[in-house]
């Protein structure tokens, strides 16, 4: 109000003065005009005050933009159609996986990265009711889930960049063994199935993607003309034999119905809580890039693989890998060798602790239902080793430039690809029997699996791939592929499989 009074006076003085002889109507009009001017000035003043109190949209935006820039959500996934000569596979669609990724940089030196994987996953539903019933308490639980489903944290780490060559990283980190485990995203590859060494057999102690909880350092050393050296070095809880309990409920014609609990002791990811075994694992990979497009890597993993209640036995894995590129051609390869020390002693240890390999309720005590508890050692061999070799050629026919395959993409490509792979399982444990804490049978065998794959991928962008492939997998004559692979449910005499695959892998 204080500001309005002088304004009115100024307007009065500056405004047109009523001329001598002006009529009353003219004076009224002039007063009305003055009032309108005052109201307009009032409005302008209020708007100006409001603008001072609230920053303009343009001024607010940088804060939100900055916040959005610090956290990025992405992901990748893949689906596949397969037509296989194995009776148990036939024609099938597989939801391979969907992985949600988040990376955040709360400050310049700080980074966090997270990957949550949904593999073969569609539904997981748990229903539980607790209520009094029939004079007691009834607890009912039902689990509904799609077969083979898995939800897992693939990576979850924090990183502090001290320098380019020294970055602290801690959390669930990918074990740097071989080149596939650390570059496992499906959309990076031209074939719709992962390699035998890393996934299907596997030679890697744990199938890729294999993370472990630990801490360590990573970094890059630029060596001028000598190229670049990248390293990762972590101390981790490490892979350990873990129990997987399989419950089987079976009705059988002419036999007693069966209720079985099969306890499989197999190498599994290390714990994310108290790791009570004495000793941690160490994993490292050094990769040298002497020239652009060429890389040579060497990796090592060493650690105890037995849990605290068994004798201390070590697992040693080493890998060699590389990438060689020349023009449109790329040759990528990996060799991994894994040695489980004293597998026989581990079996003895288990026998000592578990006492009986199998316990069964006799028919006289349970005439209608066979109840059995059985222990098994799975996926163990004295030595596992194998390699894969992948040759790729990228090309793009010019006549496709203006078709739906070429437009509007910057750099669409076709990738012709061929992969040859072999995996060897020396002294693979096939049967362990013990009673009264003593081993009564311990049988092993040597096995191998070969596979050849030829394919063609169309990549409209680097993050997407439509993958077409034919693969032929075979093992020792007359022996089942199911015994040595984790993806082919072959019958006892099925030693070979032909498959046509079509997959889509995507990223964003």
């Amino acid at each position: 109000m204080r500001q309005l009074v002088p304004m009115i006076l100024v307007l009065w003085l500056l405004g047109p003065l009523p001329t001598r002889g002006a009529t009353l109507e003219e004076l009224e009009d002039q007063v009305k005009a003055l009032n309108e001017k005052i109201e307009q000035m009032k409005r302008e003043q209020e708007e100006s005050k409001k603008a001072e109190a609230e920053p303009a949209e343009e001024e607010r935006r940088p804060f939100f933009q900055e916040a959005l820039e610090r956290v990025k959500v992405g992901g990748y996934g893949s689906i596949r159609f397969e037509s296989n000569t194995l009776d148990e596979v036939g024609n099938t669609f597989t939801f391979r996986r969907f992985v949600l990724t988040t990376d955040a940089a709360p400050a310049d030196r700080l980074k966090t990265y997270f990957e949550l994987e949904f593999e073969r996953f569609q539904v997981l539903e748990v229903e539980r009711t607790t209520a009094p019933a029939e004079g007691g308490l009834k607890v009912q639980q039902a689990v509904e889930a799609t077969p083979g489903s898995e939800i897992a944290i693939e990576q979850a780490w924090v990183q502090y960049d001290i320098n380019d060559w020294l970055k602290f990283r801690g959390g669930a980190v990918l074990v740097p063994l071989g080149r596939f485990n650390i570059r496992h995203d499906d959309n990076l590859w031209a074939l719709p199935r992962r390699s035998l060494v890393d996934r299907g057999v596997p030679v890697l102690p744990i199938p890729a993607a294999w993370p472990e909880l630990g801490m360590g350092f990573t970094g890059d050393l630029a060596g001028g003309k000598l190229g670049r050296l990248n390293y990762e070095l972590y101390v981790m809880n490490g892979a350990t034999l873990d129990a997987e309990v399989e419950e089987i409920i079976q009705t059988r014609e002419g036999k007693r119905d069966k209720l079985e609990a099969e306890v499989e002791l197999r190498p599994g990811r290390g714990t994310a809580q108290l790791d009570t075994k004495d000793g941690k694992a160490v994993g490292t990979r050094v990769a040298w890039t002497p020239l652009l497009g060429q890389e040579l890597g060497a990796s090592l993993y060493w650690g105890r693989y037995t849990p605290g209640f068994l004798d201390d036995e070590k697992l040693l894995s080493f890998g060699l890998d590389g990438l060689f590129s020349l023009g449109p051609f790329e040759l990528e390869w990996e060799y991994v060798n894994t040695n489980f020390s004293n597998v026989g002693d581990v079996a003895t240890s288990i026998a000592r602790v578990a006492r009986e390999q199998a316990v069964e309720i006799e028919k006289v005590d349970s005439p209608d239902l066979e109840v059995e508890i059985e222990y098994e050692l799975a996926q163990l061999a004295k030595t596992k080793h194998g390699y894969w070799l992948e040759l790729r050629r990228r090309f793009w026919p010019a006549f496709l430039k203006n078709t739906f395959l070429g437009k509007p993409f910057e750099n669409p490509q076709f990738v012709a690809v061929a992969r040859w792979e072999q995996a060897f399982l020396d002294d693979r444990v096939t049967h362990v029997d013990f009673t009264g804490g003593t081993i009564t049978a311990f049988e092993t065998e040597d096995r191998w699996v070969n596979r050849i794959t030829a394919g063609l991928a169309y990549k409209p962008t680097p993050l997407w791939a439509f993958q077409l492939a034919y693969e032929y997998t075979w093992t020792n004559r007359g022996r089942s592929l199911a015994e040595v692979t984790n993806f082919l449910p072959a019958k006892p005499n099925e030693d070979k499989a032909h498959a046509f695959l079509f997959g889509v892998a995507f990223g964003f």
């Binding site: 820039e69 992405g74 310049d108 960049d161 652009l292 590129s325 993050l463």
Partner: protein
Amino acid sequence: MLTRRRFLLALVGQTILGWAKNLFAQTGVFLTEQEAPEAVFPEATAFERQVIKATPELREKMQALMGKFKPSIWEDAYTTFLAKKGGEFLGYAVIVEEIGKHRPITFVVGIQPDHKVHDVAIMVFREPYGGQVKERIFLKQYRGKSVTESFLPFQSVRSVAGATLSIHALARGIKKAAALVQAVYQEGKEGGW
């Protein structure tokens, strides 16, 4: 007397001190705006800084010149430097930004008057992967290439495993810088592209 132990201690000490000097020297920021033009035109003796507002008309012209390349970021304004050595005009240094996978990469592109790339240098790299593109061994392959090239992996530049998206971002950024030079400084001149 220099014993073996003293010699080794001195050696280790020197190494640690040498490392410590660089210990906090590198973050995601590799060049400031002031250092950027010199990184791509080290032979220049003077730089004239200009800021060009990115009007809708300018963007339209640039996009027409860039063809199939679609920028992931349209900057509000472009900072350019005219590089000179004595009386000789060496070229334009243009600061641009393009998104790699999720985050923008800020870099400077040196363009000669004859429409060739003089050099490229990374100023700020923010992505968790693909940082190999900031190294000289990678960037030197852009030198001397005509701006009409695609700069895409497996076409006109060599690829690096794990950095494909960053290389695509550089390709878009170089195209954008070249389009800016053409639209602002060389429009109507002979020898345009």
